[in-house]
Homo-oligomer: 651 residues x 2
């Protein structure tokens, strides 16, 4: 087996070379110790509040775990909840696994082991595992492509891999292997058509392949990708499915040119396709995905990195249709954007994918989790009249565990490497130890980012060693326009980043959005640079009608918003003068340290007579978007109006 795997790996290496696909490997979070002022407290909140909420809901408040117990009891009891609820158990397990790595907690691990026993006891003798169909009647299984059996399987595989990697315990991994084998035999080996109604299994199978070395899982992932766009998906019960574009099933994946349909399904699909592409070297997926990616980012993405503007289909609508108050922007879709863009970066070595990853992570995804870690957004609009509120849980509960697993594994996105080169993608206080240039190298990044832009990176090889260091130069440093030219920062001139080694300015090559330093690194070398954190006023292309005559404010990676709570109660009754300049003020939202931004704006308020309107020039305060709605619901806007276009009287 080992030998086979080796041969296969060599083959992949050749194919990658042939296809010019980059073999960059993301450094796994389990190799990265995070001691960052911004992320570490959030990971601790996830380890406590968020996971406790997931556990409470999974064990007590909803029947998610009880369904597994019912299957094991075999007493003819009925399934409770929704047919995809198993997936929430798996995603919570996956988040627990990540969290245990950074925050070991025996009680959490005991809970996970207990759940795993119950999951294993619910597996059918032939490997099948799905409480909905085991309780409904196994004769019904695999009869409806939309019923998320493969989706739940995918989340099981991800949890199993994560738990095995963290703890070394393989009980859940063995469950996953048996189920994956069952699926492989039922479909690929039996040549039985099956279009996954909710993609997810593809990326999960690649993880299973990487962990077990069994190439049948990689083949099965590719097989699932190849099923799409061939008309196999007709005749299932869900109305929306009848438009195959809803599930990215209107064309074969390698022929897709436009983003369509359900945003989370799309993100998981392309993540899986990228994973397969990097393993097999198949350039067909990559060609299609580059085009689709441009369609997402250049015409269908919010300035927060949020995607899927329409609640109707939880997904994409028309190009440039980016309403702010009605923005759907599911938390899970931003999580998916992080996944996909990481893979696109690894395949191409281009920093533009990390630019989008960072935008989605720090804005559209992170705001899905409350600062205390115990409240969630399902949708993440860019304006609220005060009615949008965080909630404890959802009937369809995909988002809480998804944001939990993302934050718990944020270490996945900081570094990447080849044998001869390091990539620094995100600026997060952290330590890792990598083999570079044949030498073990300690790497230690220190930064208060995103509060300020100072970054120091100690590069400590045991002895002098030559390798490349790629430092990502965020697009907001070097370019006025981003996301194509969907958004443009008009207030600040582009900068050239100054990089120092051991306090001396050094020359570097700019390549694919990175500052590339090639040198023989000595023990104790330190790279330092300061990302310019000027406040940027961003305008949107004129096609984005919802955001015309408005500006969005960004500082570093953080998009800002104006909340009513900081501005006398209302967030929709002011005009920002064109000449407005923002000053920075160190502040807090709850216990979260933030740089608040202040300027003067024209506020319009009812007069005492109930008929007149007063206009007052007074301070306007903006805070990072990710902290909004942590101090009650009082209205919020990301895009700040510079002109009165229409007005309404409201309560």
């Amino acid at each position: 087996m080992k030998k086979n795997l080796f041969i296969f790996s060599c083959l992949i290496g050749q194919m990658l070379q042939a296809q010019n696909l980059s073999p960059i490997q993301a450094v796994n979070f389990s190799q990265v110790k995070i001691n960052d002022a911004f992320w570490k407290p959030k990971m601790e909140k996830v380890a406590t509040a968020t996971l406790n909420a997931c556990i409470l809901q999974t064990e007590i408040k909803t029947p998610r775990i009880r369904n597994f117990e019912k299957v094991a009891r075999k007493q003819g009891e009925k399934h409770e909840g929704i047919y995809y609820d198993d997936s929430d158990v798996y995603k919570a397990l996956e988040a627990i696994a990540y969290s245990l790595k950074n925050n070991p907690t025996p009680k959490l691990e005991a809970t996970a082991d207990d759940w795993i026993d119950k999951i294993a006891a619910a597996q059918e003798p032939d490997g099948y595992l799905n409480t909905y169909y085991s309780l409904l009647g196994l004769d019904q299984r695999w009869s409806d492509m939309e019923k998320h059996e493969d989706y739940c399987a995918g989340h099981l595989f991800e949890a199993a891999v994560a738990y095995y990697n963290t703890t070394g315990k393989r009980k859940l991994l063995d469950v996953a292997i048996r189920f994956a084998n069952h699926i492989d035999e039922t479909f690929r080996l039996a040549n039985r058509p099956w279009v996954s109604g909710h993609q997810e299994i593809e990326l999960a199978l690649v993880k299973l392949y990487r962990t077990t070395g069994q190439d049948r899982y990689l083949k099965l992932a590719d097989w699932f990708l190849l099923q799409r766009g061939r008309g196999f998906g007709r005749g299932v019960i869900w109305d929306q499915w009848k438009d195959p574009a809803y599930c990215q099933d209107s064309h074969p994946v390698k022929e897709q040119k436009e983003i369509t349909g359900h945003a989370v399904r799309a993100m998981y699909l392309y993540t899986g396709a990228a994973d397969v592409a990097v393993q097999t070297g198949d350039a067909g997926y990559m060609g299609a995905m580059k085009t689709v990616w441009e369609d997402v980012v250049q015409r269908n993405m919010y300035v927060t990195g949020g995607i899927g503007s329409s609640g109707r289909n939880e997904g994409f609508s028309q190009d440039y249709d980016l309403p702010n108050e009605q923005a759907y922007c599911e938390t899970c879709a931003s999580v998916g954007m992080v996944f996909w863009n990481q893979r696109m970066n690894a395949l191409t070595g281009e920093s533009k994918y990390i630019d989008i990853l960072e935008r989605s992570l720090y804005n559209g995804a992170l705001d899905g989790l409350s600062l205390e870690g115990d409240r969630f957004f399902y949708g993440n609009p860019l304006a609220s009249n005060g009615s949008h509120a965080r909630r404890e849980w959802f009937g369809t509960a995909c988002c809480p565990s998804n944001i939990a697993r993302l934050v718990a594994s944020v270490g996945d996105y900081i570094y990447a490497q080849t044998d001869q080169a390091l990539w620094v993608n995100l600026f997060v206080g952290s330590e890792t130890k990598l083999n570079l240039g044949g030498q073990e190298v300690n790497i230690r990044m220190q930064t208060a980012y995103p509060l300020n832009g100072k970054v120091g990176i100690k590069i400590d090889p045991g002895k002098a060693t030559n390798f490349l260091v790629h430092l990502r130069i965020p697009s907001w440093v070097s370019n006025a326009a981003f996301a194509g030219d969907l958004y443009t920062a008009r207030s600040v001139a582009p900068n050239k980043l100054q990089v120092m080694v051991n306090g001396q300015i050094v020359a570097y090559k700019s390549e694919k959005g990175y500052a590339v330093l090639e040198r023989t690194w000595q023990p104790g070398d330190e790279i330092s640079f300061t990302l310019p954190m000027q406040v940027q006023k961003i305008s949107a292309r004129q096609e984005v009608s919802a955001s015309q005559n408005k500006v969005a404010i960004q500082r570093g990676p953080l998009v800002y918003c104006v909340e009513g709570v900081d501005n006398g109660g209302d967030a929709w009754n002011f005009i920002l003068p064109e000449t407005a300049k923002f000053s920075e003020k160190n502040s807090t939202v709850g216990t979260e340290a933030v740089v608040a931004l202040q300027t003067q704006a024209l506020f319009y308020e009812p007069g005492a007579d109930g008929k007149s309107i007063k206009t007052v020039l007074k301070p306007l305060t903006a805070v990072p978007y990710y902290v909004w709605c942590n101090r009650g619901n009082k209205g919020m806007q990301v895009w700040l109006p510079q002109k009165i276009k229409g007005l309404r009287f409201v309560e």
Copy 2:
């Protein structure tokens, strides 16, 4: 059987007397010919556009009819659509049946016969009929109280009764009888607990009882009512169900005191309870319902007669929680209000129930249907920022066929009678022939209501005959306050209605909200009166926070609204002066004749500099609420602000 029925009827008569329940009978629409300028064109639109839309959706665009064909084919095909879709077929059939009475159309009848053949062919040998479970597997049937099997059965029974009454064809009636017998044997006779997850079967069984004379259906209706509130409904899969109040299952029906939960379920429940009460004379239901009715009307009803303010549960929330833009107010709930209030009126003889019926019918229900009859509202808010639009159809398609059947059977609500008395409840140009005082009496009402308030009623007995005529005096004529004192018209003093017979003013007794004329009627006698159609400014109790500092405008039975399309594009940027007086203007919306109302209001508009706000006194036009959103989506408000409380800048 006939004899038994006769004895039973006598018994009911005695019980009614004993319990002081009124034996008033609504005159069935099939006995009423409508030639009304307001309603007749709407009934014709239903007969053509609305029913064609229902047929198109049922036969072509959705698999509703195909599911019946699949059951009959017995080839193991799968159910498509949602498990309650059969009910839409039955409701469309019921609407066709009503429509055929007033607008005979051979093609429509042929379609109905074709559907009935397919429905009959899908009935199981034991009488069971439900395509979802016949296709899923009959072993699963009756396992889940929430899966609407009894709800679909109820709509089948209603359709069967309607089609039999219109056409005399009993094929569908026989299908209904077999299914009802199956249900009776499965539950009541087997003493097997079952709480209907969506009430409807109760009222339908009373219709079946009245048509067949079989008292087992009345007993079964009562049995279903008695199941509720006893804890039988636990353990079904739907989360919301876990609050038994969602389905009015927290207390036995006769002990209920508050309105809770899903609005349509509640309306159907109380309609069925009233139907059973009138047949059995059981005063327990009536006592509870009077209390619940007051809770609905006095604390939880919109000025449009709409109910169920919350979209979260499609139902009731807190007392006085009546938001305008977020108002859910499902069309079906207003239809249910019409049903229930008719029964309450028949049980008590009190006109206050018809006041509410009229309010719901002419406003909250009727606006659910577009003027062309081919577009629908599911929810009916009282304010829109322009995003609320009529749609061709819905995934859950209860509303289109429900409003169709209501409009097609509006003749049901005009007259009621006992042997010795006539009640005129609605003012609709129409003819009927009734037996009153032992004499056949032709009745012919002529009116242009609600355009104006003149009503003439020819009372034509073959020979001089003594009987009572009750003319409803709408509460908006005689009282400033209505719905308890939830709403108060402050601008117009109450009137005493002047009634004439043959041109001479006559004295009358006021009783239970009616003007009661007792006399010996001569052939050719004519009653005439003019309802005062002054424009009324209505304010809401201070507990209704969403409508403070605002007035609603009403003229006759019609609530008005301000639409952007009549007012320069926006409907939320004006202040109505306290002193504003409205003038009437004959106008049209499409081809619909309306009395538009005009006054002067302060409009606030952006200045050319984009920073200033101009205030302009200019004409404000209001149109009846039921015609809104027939000229595009441009914003609408029912409650007109008299003070600026807050303002927002919008697109």
